[in-house]
Symmetry: C2
Subunit: 67 residues, 2 copies
DNA sequence: GTGTGACTCCTAGTCCGTC
DNA sequence: AGACGGACTAGGAGTCACA
């Protein structure tokens, strides 16, 4: 389900025309980390789920949908 | 928002008449760990969010609502 | 049945780089 | 633009004794 989470991030990011690096900057995270999250390699923690959601302009719960 | 998450877990747990220990057992976690999550002291990661949601019989996204 | 401090172990997360 | 690797530090996972 990490994979589903990562895909969800990616499908929300792309329509915004943000690069992984852009998203990382806005979320206050590192670019390589965001990449590995999208690939489903990381077990991301709650604080960073909130950061990514905020940077993507969605509710945190939206990142866990369809899983 | 860790706090909100913890409260959400607690308010979902209590109607089920489960103790923290019961919930911990069902989720495959430690009793004191679940307690500290409910108190908002832990920055829980995605895997454990899924475990708790499953043990509570709700969708993981439901644990992030109302935050 | 729950709260809390302290602890170890492992991974979350960063930073450098290359392809 | 993104994938991926190595080395590193911060912090989450998991447990215990005791209140």
């Amino acid at each position: 389900m990490r994979r589903a989470f990562g895909l969800r991030v990616r499908t929300l990011r792309e329509p915004l025309a943000l690069s992984q690096e852009d998203l990382a900057d806005q979320a206050g995270l590192h670019r390589t980390y965001v990449g590995s999250v999208e690939r489903g390699e990381r077990n991301i923690s709650l604080d960073n789920i909130y950061r990514l959601a905020k940077a993507l302009g969605v509710h945190p719960a939206d990142l866990l949908r369809d899983s």
